[in-house]
Each structure stands twice: as structure tokens, then as C-alpha cells.
């Protein structure tokens, strides 16, 4: 129970008078592919933002690998191995796909200003850059976006951007990946490809928490599903169990009625 890498307890976040997340609690097991679903406005994205540091929760705790990371800065959380992607792909438009990927890895010596400009230290920087380049090209091949390596990210299609974003997140060598609607706006062929990659990476030991709007995708791919409704967790469990839960059906059907 307590050895789950990500533990969210009683998370609460309000914007003005609107309660976006209202006491959500759940855990993500190591090596799992966990899905987080819920109707529009259920608080999924806000929960995500609170976990990754983009928002500071009003109360509640987020524990990652035994460490309390509640309210830490996004970069501190990312450096601990909890890395996210964005619902609307936020590629760095005027940087090439290669630059986007080269940006991501942790512990780059050349991110220190003095090392980048002083003659001898720059030699080490160049060495490290060459090693990173190898990894970048492997990742490009893995996600099959090597043919657009030199293109600026702003010129890519929606689906390619999603691939790029996931490739970039993988370059940080994360322990747990939070994917915010990675399949939104992606055509069926690319969707298949993205899901393949997720399953393959999961096989290699990565843990995923997937936010999705599309019920079918979650039910078909995740082994553990968390359903959020009105800011808190409504139901949790295996897809088949959750799917037949009356409250879940009501929450979804209720949305359709409105």
C-alpha cells in the first residue's frame, strides 16, 4: 500500500469560489498503466497540475517515492523523476525536433554558463552533447519521428506534436510519466502507434498515469482505473469493475443529459 511511488491524499484546490479538486485521494502502483478518467470539469487536469507543481494545492499532500513533494516547483518535481506532458501539446515552436529532445535530459554540464564558454570545460560539454545525440536519435527512431528531426516543432501536425512531447518527456529518463490526454486530436493510425509505444515502455518498467477523456481508450489499455467526478474520486479499480459501477454510469450519463 504505502510503497506505491505516487500517493495523493485529500488534495484540494479552489479557484476563487469554484472548487476544482475536492479531497481527491489515490495511488499509482509501480510499473502500472493507470488511467484517470472523468467527465468534463471533473478536476482531472487540475489534479495533474497540483501533482506536477504547476498549481499549488490548497491542502492535501502529494508523496512521490516516499518524499513529500506538495507545493514544490515544477522543475524540482521533474528532477525527481515525475514528468508530465500537456493536454494541448506545448512544443517549443521555433526549436527543431532535435533541439526539443536535446533540451530534456537531466544533468547537462553545459547548462552551467561558465562551462559553455570556457575553452577546456567546453570540451566536456561537447563530449556529453555527442552522447546525448546518440540517445536522441535512438528516441527519434523509437517514436518513428526521425524523418522530421530537423523540422521546427511549430510545423508539425497535431499527432506528431503529441509524439514529440512524449519523446521529449522520455528523454528526461523519468520514473513516472503523467500523460495529459496524449491521444486527443490524434488520428487512429497515430493513436495506435502512441499506444504501442506506451505499452512497450511499460514493459521496460516505466510507470504511467494517463488522463483521458475517451472512456474506451482507458478501458482497453489500463489495468487500473480511477474515476473522478466533481473534484473527488468516485470509483477505483479494474476496468470491468469500474465500468459496471452504477455511480460511474450515472456520472457519465448525467453529463450527457445536461
Amino acid at each position: 500500500m504505502s510503497d506505491a511511488p505516487l500517493q495523493v491524499r485529500d488534495l484540494k484546490k479552489t479557484f476563487g469560489g469554484i472548487v476544482a479538486v475536492d479531497g481527491a485521494s489515490f495511488e499509482v502502483e509501480a510499473g502500472s498503466l493507470t488511467g484517470l478518467i472523468g467527465p468534463n470539469g471533473a478536476g482531472k487536469s487540475t489534479t495533474f497540475n497540483c501533482i506536477t507543481g504547476a498549481h499549488t494545492p490548497d491542502s492535501g499532500t502529494v508523496v512521490f517515492q516516499g518524499e513529500d513533494i506538495t507545493g514544490r516547483r515544477p522543475d524540482q518535481i521533474a528532477n525527481r523523476g515525475l514528468v508530465r506532458t500537456f493536454q494541448i501539446a506545448r512544443e517549443l515552436e521555433e526549436m527543431t525536433v532535435l533541439e526539443n529532445l536535446m533540451l530534456a535530459p537531466k544533468g547537462q554540464l553545459g547548462e552551467q554558463l561558465w562551462r559553455s564558454v570556457t575553452p577546456i570545460a567546453r570540451g566536456e560539454v561537447i563530449e556529453q552533447e555527442a552522447e546525448l545525440r546518440e540517445r536522441v536519435w535512438e528516441t527519434l527512431d523509437f517514436f518513428e519521428i526521425d524523418h522530421i528531426a530537423h523540422d521546427e516543432a511549430g510545423t508539425l501536425s497535431g499527432g506528431q506534436r503529441k509524439l514529440l512531447e512524449m519523446a521529449r518527456a522520455m528523454m528526461t529518463d523519468p520514473d513516472l510519466l503523467l500523460l495529459d490526454e496524449p491521444l486527443a486530436g490524434v488520428n487512429p493510425t497515430l493513436e495506435e502507434k502512441l499506444l504501442d509505444r506506451i505499452h512497450e515502455l511499460r514493459g521496460q518498467g516505466y510507470t504511467f498515469l494517463l488522463v483521458e477523456h475517451d472512456m474506451d481508450v482507458i478501458m482497453d489499455n489500463c489495468e487500473h482505473v480511477i474515476v473522478m467526478h466533481q473534484g473527488s474520486v468516485l470509483a477505483e479499480g479494474e476496468p470491468e469493475v469500474v465500468q459496471s459501477d452504477d455511480r460511474v454510469i450515472e456520472a457519465y450519463l448525467g453529463e450527457i443529459d445536461v
Binding site: T52, G53, A54, R73, P74, D75, Q76, A78, N79, V83, R84, F86, R90, E91, L92, E93, E94, M95, T96, L98, E99, M102, L103, A104, K106, Q108, L109, G110, E111, Q112, L113, S116, V117, R122, V125, I126, E129, A130, R133, E134, V136, W137, D141, D146, H147, A149, E152, R168, A169, T172
Partner: protein, 447 residues
């Protein structure tokens, strides 16, 4: 931006004749030359510079100037090229690379120049006072002071959104200028040491170190040889200009290294989307503070080499218009490109800043125009009777003021037609190495 981008393809083609595939015919010579020049950044800069030199040679000779006048013109041009080049490179680091909208360039220049002056001006100077320390101490001190003022501005402002940084820096720049102008600090002394800024009447500056070279044996011999054609004062100024060019090259290399490195990659990412950079584990606060301080130090250095090399400086040299000029140079060259900053500085100084004035002088020398009418109405009214001379003499007489109209028109055209600057869209890859697939990797798919 994307709407502007659609204009770009038409603007990109230098001319329909440049499309010819074969390089044999004389018709393709222009295209061939263009391709050759565009091959390296160094050639682009040198070619632009030579073109502006040639233009001014024509101007000077038309106006009946001799070799000394021409030399003097070229030296003055190069002096301004170098001054604007340093400042636009520094601004490009802030604005072009990192997206930090710093509109306080003049203030940081002022801090650099005045700190240098207080440190290095001899204590017995006529106006203002100094400690008389060696010049290198003054220069380094000036850069450090500019960087520290940058830090003071950056720490609170960088936490805010970009537009607030702009307001803070503009305000700071004016605060600095007004402080330097104040009478309270004009004759400030501690014990026997004077730290006076000279207030509105300005402060004397240390002599240019290169001037002493002409007093050596070799120097005096050189002056004697050249004297009839090139005067000693032109020679003295040209020596200093050489020093400035050395600094421009040094700063260009430094900033190219900053840009082409993992550090520069993070800067670019901050410009594009700071939350993404943070979500990838980059502590963007430190990157912004470091780059802001570095840029401010370079602005201080630019101020020292430019305003600080003229024997005397007053707070009037650091009005916000200077910041505006530097922005124009960066915009013309295309923000985000170091080479663009150099080309932009050359074009700005040559065509917009010095060009109109020189051209006006030639016209007024060549054509004997009647004295200019006092008002615009007086200049335009005779057009009804098809008499253009009053308008012409009005234009020539007020050409310094009309420069601003020209500046505005050029800015609008550039932003509309070539938002990426005269060099077009450039990609200066932010990496310390070539990012192509390494050949040894055995991939060989499409590379």
C-alpha cells in the same frame, strides 16, 4: 505571427531572376554572388559593411570631400557600427534568445560608463571627480556594476510576466539617468576621495589608452608619413575603432558559444514556453538571472566603449531613445540571430542614422537651394504652382527630423514584410555540436 508568416515566402525570394539553375550565363552572376556571400555569416557581415562603405564613398566624393574626409566618415561609421553591434548583441541575448523584454538598455550603459568614470577618471579632472584607478579596473568595475543593477532589477521583475519586466527596466533606466543628473551627487566626496557624477554638466573621462600609441616613436613617424592625407585626429580615432572591433568579435564569439550550448537551449526554451522548460526540470529562475546579468554587463561594456571613449559624458547620452535605436537595429537584423544583430547594426547606422544626414549635406552642397521655409505649410503651398524647390529645401533643412519618419516607415515595413529581419528566418541550432545523425550509428536511413 502565423498570419505574418504566410507573407514570408514571397518576401524571401530575392528576385525572380535568382531562380535560374545554371551558373554559366552572366544573368546568373548576381544570383551566384548572392549565394557565395550567403555561404558564411562572416561574409554576410563584411559584404554589408563594404556596401555601406561604398555608398558613403560615393556620398563623400559627390560632396567634393577629399581622402581625409572620406577616412573620417568611414571611421565615424565604423565607430557607430561597433557601438551598436555590441549593444544589439547584448539585447539580442536578452530579447532575441531568452525573450526578456529589456527596454532599459540606456540605463545599463549609463551605469557602466559612470562607474568606469568614477573609478578611473583622475581626481584632478575639471568636471566630476574620480579615483584615478587604472582603466581596466574601471572597465571591469563598470561591467560588474551594470550586472549588479541588472540583478537588482531582475530578482523581483523576472518573477513577473514579460511585460512587467519591460516596465521595470524602462523605469529603472530613467531613474538611473535622473540620478546621474541630480545635483546632490554631483560633487560627492568621502574623506579626500571624490565620487562626484558632475550632475547635468557631465563628467570628464579618462583618455583613450590607444591615444598614447601615437606619441611613441613609431606612432609619431606614422603620423608624419600620413599627415597631409590622413590627419592625426582621424588616425587616433581609427585606432580606438580597431579596439572596439576587437571587442565586437570577442563578444560575438562569446555569445555564439552561449547560444550554441545546452545553456542556450534552455534560454530558447524559456523564450518559447517557460512552463515547458520547468516541466522538464530546468530551474528557469537561475537561467534568467544569469543571462540578464551577462547581458547587462555587456550593455555596460558597450556604453563604456562608446560613450565612455569621448573624453566627456553627460546623462543626456542615456535617454530612452538610445534603447529604441538598439531595438531597431535588432529588429532589422532579426531577433534571435547574432549575425543578424551585426547586420542590423550596420544597416541601421548606415542607412537610417547617418545616411539621411550625409545625403542631405550632399544635396544642399550640390544644389544651391533657397533658404528653407519656416513651416510645413510654407513648404507645401508653392506646390500648387508646381514649385517644388521650397519643399525640397524644407526636406533637406530638416532631414534629421525626417529621419524619424523614415525609421517608422522602415520598422512597419520590416515587421509586416520580413518579421524575421532582413536575413529572413534563420536557424542557429542551439547545440554545441552538429545534431545530424552520427554516421557511425549505422542508421543511414535518410542522412
Amino acid at each position: 505571427m502565423s498570419a505574418d508568416g504566410s507573407n514570408d515566402p514571397d518576401a524571401d525570394a530575392p528576385g525572380p531572376d535568382a531562380e535560374g539553375p545554371s551558373a554559366d550565363g552572366p544573368a546568373d552572376l548576381a544570383a551566384y554572388l548572392r549565394a557565395e556571400v550567403a555561404a558564411t555569416d562572416f561574409r554576410i557581415v563584411v559584404a554589408t559593411m563594404l556596401a555601406v562603405y561604398a555608398l558613403f564613398a560615393v556620398f563623400t566624393l559627390l560632396a567634393g570631400g577629399g581622402l581625409n574626409t572620406l577616412g573620417s566618415t568611414w571611421v565615424r561609421l565604423t565607430f557607430l557600427f561597433a557601438a551598436y553591434a555590441i549593444l544589439s548583441l547584448a539585447l539580442n541575448l536578452h530579447w532575441g534568445y531568452t525573450g526578456l523584454f529589456n527596454i532599459g538598455v540606456a540605463g545599463f550603459m549609463g551605469v557602466g560608463v559612470y562607474t568606469m568614470a568614477v573609478l578611473s577618471t583622475p581626481p584632478d579632472a575639471i568636471s566630476g571627480m574620480g579615483l584615478g584607478l587604472p582603466l581596466p579596473v574601471g572597465i571591469v568595475g563598470g561591467m560588474l556594476a551594470a550586472a549588479l543593477v541588472g540583478l537588482v532589477a531582475a530578482v523581483p521583475a523576472l518573477r513577473l510576466r514579460a511585460d512587467y519586466l519591460a516596465i521595470v527596466t524602462l523605469g529603472l533606466s530613467e531613474i538611473i539617468r535622473l540620478t546621474l543628473n541630480s545635483a546632490t551627487l554631483s560633487g560627492w566626496t568621502i574623506a579626500t576621495f571624490g565620487f562626484g557624477t558632475g550632475g547635468g554638466s557631465g563628467i570628464d573621462l579618462p583618455a583613450r589608452p590607444t591615444d598614447a600609441l601615437l606619441d611613441t616613436v613609431v606612432g609619431t613617424a606614422l603620423v608624419d608619413v600620413l599627415d597631409p592625407t590622413i590627419t592625426a585626429s582621424v588616425l587616433r580615432r581609427s585606432l580606438w575603432v580597431l579596439v572596439m572591433i576587437g571587442f565586437v568579435i570577442g563578444i560575438y564569439v562569446l555569445l555564439a558559444r552561449v547560444g550554441n550550448s545546452p545553456f542556450g537551449r534552455v534560454l530558447k526554451a524559456i523564450r518559447e514556453d517557460e512552463l515547458v522548460a520547468q516541466s522538464l526540470g530546468k530551474d528557469t529562475r537561475w537561467f534568467k538571472i544569469k543571462v540578464f546579468m551577462l547581458g547587462c554587463a555587456l550593455m555596460g561594456l558597450g556604453g563604456i566603449l562608446w560613450q565612455g571613449s569621448q573624453g566627456y559624458v553627460s546623462p543626456d547620452s542615456f535617454r530612452p531613445i538610445v534603447t529604441f535605436y538598439v531595438f531597431v537595429a535588432v529588429i532589422i537584423g532579426g531577433s534571435g540571430s547574432n549575425t543578424g544583430s551585426l547586420v542590423g547594426s550596420i544597416l541601421f547606422v548606415g542607412l537610417l542614422f547617418e545616411g539621411p544626414r550625409t545625403f542631405g549635406n550632399i544635396v544642399s552642397n550640390a544644389v544651391s537651394l533657397p533658404s528653407a521655409p519656416g513651416t510645413f505649410a510654407g513648404a507645401v503651398a508653392p506646390l500648387a504652382s508646381l514649385d517644388v524647390t521650397p519643399l525640397l529645401s524644407y526636406l533637406v533643412g530638416n532631414i534629421s527630423a525626417f529621419r524619424f519618419i523614415l525609421l517608422g516607415v522602415v520598422l512597419i515595413l520590416i515587421i509586416q514584410k520580413r518579421p524575421d529581419g532582413v536575413l529572413g528566418h534563420r536557424t542557429e541550432t542551439a547545440a554545441a555540436i552538429d545534431l545530424d545523425r552520427p554516421a557511425a550509428n549505422g542508421g543511414g536511413n535518410d542522412e
